[in-house]
């Protein structure tokens, strides 16, 4: 059934349909309507889940680690500072191989205090062992949340479903909400490969010596590799039931493209329009949408980008002292390909600033006109500001 709902509400609908058992969240800013909607579902009986209102995001994830260890389906949602506070436990969740699903609304980190969209919060957690999926619109967000449970439970790794603040979390769009019966076919009850069991007591997460630790870390890496292989299968199964298909990466008119723009999140939608316009004018331009950031689909990306003349990556995030984070990853993916195209790393839309079609066209033009990038980071639309703080 199609309904006009917010991106946040779409996540909540997916969590309801996934028949999650335990939800744990800290309910103040930078929280979103996701847990607000879910707490409503729990209190009115729409969803038979235990909703834990905890005292911090650190505790929110800690509670889910306990719940997931007992073999039930778990969910939380957070943003920016809240995700940062979870950092220690992000590592724990993946190390313990717990299939927790989290909706992560990309919000800028403070200070200055800013709750608008910015990807730095989730990208800063790239090494924590969480699968990360960046969504473009409301339907993809709902569908991806359902797929996240399937994927997480197959590879025993936690999954972060990432969506842009406001542009996606708070934007109303028509979204098809699947029937429960269909979702139940796609997502059967969680059958854990291990769980806390009083009949068979054991301790998880105990001390491990150098003799074994390395193999355990390699096992996590293997789980990530398996996720890369299994995501297309999950997509296939999903498409078979719901008729919709998303992908780890989506190339748009890249086959003969000389310049390929690389995007993630809601900027992709704007970029799709630009590509259409430019193609009508005869420009040989393509778009690569990257949805799966961890594990990073290096091979697939290399196949799409290597034949192009120039690559322009649009990053709504920044790693201080380096460059945009997607640009880093793209450069790393291409560097072993002889004669690979130069990668222009553009930084735009930080802290919720609009990335319009004009901004994107400017990026395209700059890429066309330059042989090589002048710097590793090309900031778009910066204003004049004082060089130093004036003392009163």
């Amino acid at each position: 059934m199609k309904k006009v709902i917010e991106g946040s509400q779409g996540v909540a609908e997916a969590v309801r349909l996934a028949r999650v058992n335990v939800i744990s969240a800290y309910p103040i800013t930078p929280q979103t309507h996701i847990v607000e909607t879910l707490s409503g579902f729990c209190s009115d009986g729409t969803l038979d889940a235990r909703f834990l209102k905890v005292e911090s995001e650190h505790s929110a994830l800690a509670a889910l680690i306990g719940a997931a260890s007992s073999g039930v389906r778990t969910f939380t949602a957070t943003s920016s500072q809240g995700l940062a506070l979870m950092h220690e436990l992000l590592h724990w969740a993946s190390g313990a191989r717990l299939p927790i699903v989290m909706a992560e609304v990309n919000r800028a980190l403070g200070p200055g205090w800013n709750i608008w969209t910015d990807q730095t919060d989730s990208l800063a957690q790239r090494d924590t062992g969480w699968i990360q999926l960046y969504c473009e619109d409301g339907q993809e967000t709902l569908d991806t949340t359902l797929q996240a449970f399937a994927l997480a439970e197959q590879v025993n790794l936690p999954v972060m479903v990432v969506l842009d603040a406001f542009f996606l979390s708070h934007t109303y769009e028509p979204v098809d909400i699947p029937e429960q019966e269909a979702v139940d076919r796609f997502l059967p009850p969680f059958a854990p490969r291990f769980q806390l069991d009083t009949a068979n007591p054991c301790a998880f997460g105990s001390m491990v010596t150098p003799d074994t630790y390395m193999e355990m870390r390699r096992s996590i890496a293997a789980g990530m590799e398996a996720a890369l292989e299994l995501l297309p299968e999950v997509e296939e199964r999903f498409a078979g039931i719901f008729g919709r298909r998303w992908a780890a990466i989506e190339p748009v008119r890249c086959d003969d493209a000389e310049i390929i723009l690389v995007t993630s999140g809601t900027v992709t939608g704007t970029c799709r329009e630009l590509i259409g316009d430019l193609r009508e004018k005869g420009e040989k331009v393509g778009l690569l949408k990257v949805k799966l950031f961890r594990p990073f689909p290096v091979e697939a990306i290399r196949r799409v980008l290597a034949p192009a003349r120039k690559i322009a990556v649009i990053d709504r995030n920044f790693s201080f002292g380096a460059s945009g984070i997607f640009a880093q990853e793209i450069r790393a993916a291409l560097c072993n390909t002889p004669g690979h195209p130069p990668v222009f790393g553009f930084v735009a839309g930080i802290g919720g600033r609009d990335v319009t079609k004009d901004v994107l066209e400017g990026i395209y033009r700059q890429t066309v006109e330059s042989d090589r990038p002048e710097r590793e980071d090309l900031w778009i639309g910066l204003k004049e500001v004082p060089d130093a703080l004036e003392h009163p």
Partner: protein, 587 residues
């Protein structure tokens, strides 16, 4: 529908252990040792009768009213009386007072006594095996009755000899009915008799009886009280129309006075003066209290003074009577204005005449209430000498035929019912120790029974009850973890309206409901006492707090306690202690 994918064996190599970690005795890491140690609540140390108030409120908060009432009876045979007339020094030191407001301990004591009365509770009290010795008690006032009650619990036969027709002493003849209804007094005396105490009323004791130990008793307790009013030493004191306050109060209680018109003056600043003035108002007269110092210097309880003024009693401060004269069927009191000049050695304000000009006050009658004296000179306890021990609330004298203890108002500096109870209790302990172990044992034994720094003494400790396990340390307000308490206003004592009070001798204070009482008792911090809140159990990161069936309900497993101290810090009421681990040489 898509083909179901073949299961892919995803690598899953995780730390998992089927071994117990109990072999790793992490308790060996400890250098601080937490320990359950119950301490002394400030209220219980301030209570002259040493009532275990923190415990009483804990029981009351659980609705265990009978247990709470019995906890009072272990230290004080008069919950109904003290719940009405006590000046409650406990509340002045309540640690909750520095948080929001002191717990209404006095109101709760009265509630528990009422509850016992309505439920017709029979107390279940610890009694020692009967002993062959007998003790004679002279005077059936609060001190004498208390001594007889505790001596009976300690196994003695106690015979009380009372000169008046009814027992009670000042409770029967001195305290007005609006503060203490007769039925309450009679019931508490009856309960003392039910423990086995024999009271012989109308049986005055002479000095000769004392010398024979009243026909061969093994020990004596003399608590005849201060039954005679002191003289002012002012000309005209003997005029008709001048009466002593104690006699006046007694006549009201005897029923010989039922109304009194006109303007009366009351000379004095103690409780007797206030009782006289408030009684005059109720009999239909007007009352003026004339006091030579200031209101703040009055020995009467502040609450009583406030209620007297509320009821229409007038107070004139810094006026000392110098002469009384007849005048047209009335009296003229000549008063000298006084002023404060420093402090006396006893801490009271020193006063001296202010100028030479005196003032005249015209009244219809005058009552004196300037202090009381023993009825007979031989009631006075010996001051010094061989075989004389001055105890905190008594004087013990070793005579050839046995021990004699003087107590009650005869020895107490503060004349209150609670102090009388303290005196009777101390006398019982002193006589028991004397008879069993001799005079040398008395003072060390009493010192071991003090609550906190004393001088209050606990009969439960004397009888080696659970209270004797507690430390003497009196819990201070900064030792309470107030994070666990919320601001909550104190229950208000409901009272008769002033218009109703001034018309009758009906009891001024009214009862509170059980749910209000529970709520008020829940406000108690239970300083130093474990109320099984389980914080230690919940917070222990090593699961080293174990529940058991012992009296405390829990113990610490030192094999695994690392000594982090979280339990002691999170204990809201300082019922735990953290000590440095004592390692032996070579460890």
């Amino acid at each position: 529908m898509a083909k179901k994918p073949d299961p892919v064996p995803v690598s899953l190599f995780i730390p998992r252990s089927y071994l117990t970690t109990e072999g790793n005795k992490t308790g060996s890491w400890r250098f601080l040792r937490p320990r359950y140690e119950e301490k002394t609540a400030p209220c219980s140390a301030a209570c002259p009768a040493a009532e275990d108030i923190g415990k009483i409120e804990m029981l009351a908060a659980q609705g265990l009213f009978k247990d709470a009432w019995e906890a009072i009876l272990r230290e004080n045979p008069f919950p109904g009386i003290c719940g009405r007339v006590c000046f409650h020094p406990c509340e002045d030191v309540c640690n909750r007072g520095s948080f929001d407001e002191a717990v209404a301990i006095h109101v709760l004591e009265r509630f528990l006594a009422n509850r016992a009365r309505r439920g017709v509770f029979t107390p279940d009290l610890k009694r020692l095996a009967p002993k062959r010795q007998t003790v004679a008690v002279v005077g059936a006032g609060p001190a004498g009755l208390s001594a007889a009650y505790f001596l009976t619990l300690l196994g003695y036969r106690a015979d009380v000899f009372e000169a008046a027709d009814e027992a009670g002493g000042v409770l029967r003849w001195g305290i007005p009915l609006y503060r203490l209804p007769l039925a309450i007094l009679q019931e508490e005396i009856r309960r003392i008799e039910e423990t086995g105490v024999r009271i012989q009323t109308g049986n005055p004791i002479s000095q000769r009886d004392i010398n024979t130990f009243i026909e061969g008793h093994d020990a004596l307790f003399i608590a005849c009280g201060h039954g005679r009013s002191a003289q002012m030493g002012v000309p005209g004191e003997g005029l008709p129309g001048v009466q002593d306050g104690l006699t006046f109060l007694r006549e009201i209680r005897e029923g010989t006075i039922s109304s009194l018109g006109g303007q009366a003056a009351v000379i004095g600043g103690g409780n007797a003066a206030v009782d006289v003035a408030r009684s005059i108002i109720r009999l239909g007269g007007s009352a003026l209290i004339v006091y030579r110092r200031r209101r703040r210097d009055m020995p009467a309880f502040g609450e009583e003074i406030a209620m007297a003024l509320d009821e229409g009693v007038e107070l004139r401060e810094l006026l000392a009577p110098v002469a009384i004269r007849d005048s047209d069927g009335g009296l003229v009191v000549e008063v000298q204005p006084m002023q404060i000049a420093g402090t006396d050695t006893d801490g009271r304000a020193h006063i001296e005449p202010k100028g030479k000009k005196t003032e005249e006050i015209r009244v219809d009658r005058l009552f004196t209430a300037v202090g009381e004296r023993p009825g007979e000179a031989w009631y006075e306890p010996p001051t010094e000498g061989n075989g004389v021990l001055r105890l905190s609330h008594c004087v013990l004298q070793q005579r050839a035929s046995g021990p004699v203890v003087y107590g009650g108002d005869l020895t107490n500096a503060t004349k209150s019912v609670a102090h009388a109870v303290a005196s009777g209790k101390e006398a019982a302990m002193a006589l028991d120790t004397f008879l069993a172990e001799g005079i040398e044992a008395v003072q060390p034994r009493l010192a071991a029974c003090r609550v906190g720094e004393g001088p209050a003494l606990s009969m439960e400790i004397y009888m080696h009850g659970p209270r004797s396990e507690r430390s003497f340390h009196v819990v201070t307000s900064d030792e309470i973890n107030t994070a666990y308490f919320q601001f909550d206003p104190r229950v208000r004592q409901p009272r008769l309206l002033r218009e109703e009070r001034v018309r009758s001798f009906g009891e001024v204070n009214l009862r509170i409901s059980a749910n209000l009482a529970i709520r008020e008792a829940e406000r108690c911090f239970n300083c130093g006492l474990c109320n099984q809140c389980d914080n230690c159990y919940l917070f222990c990161p090593d699961l080293a707090v174990k529940k058991d069936s012992g009296p405390l309900g829990r113990h610490i497993d030192y094999d695994y306690c690392k000594g982090c101290g979280v339990c002691a810090v999170e204990c809201p009421r300082n019922a735990m202690i953290l000590e440095e681990e004592a390692y032996e040489e070579g460890d």
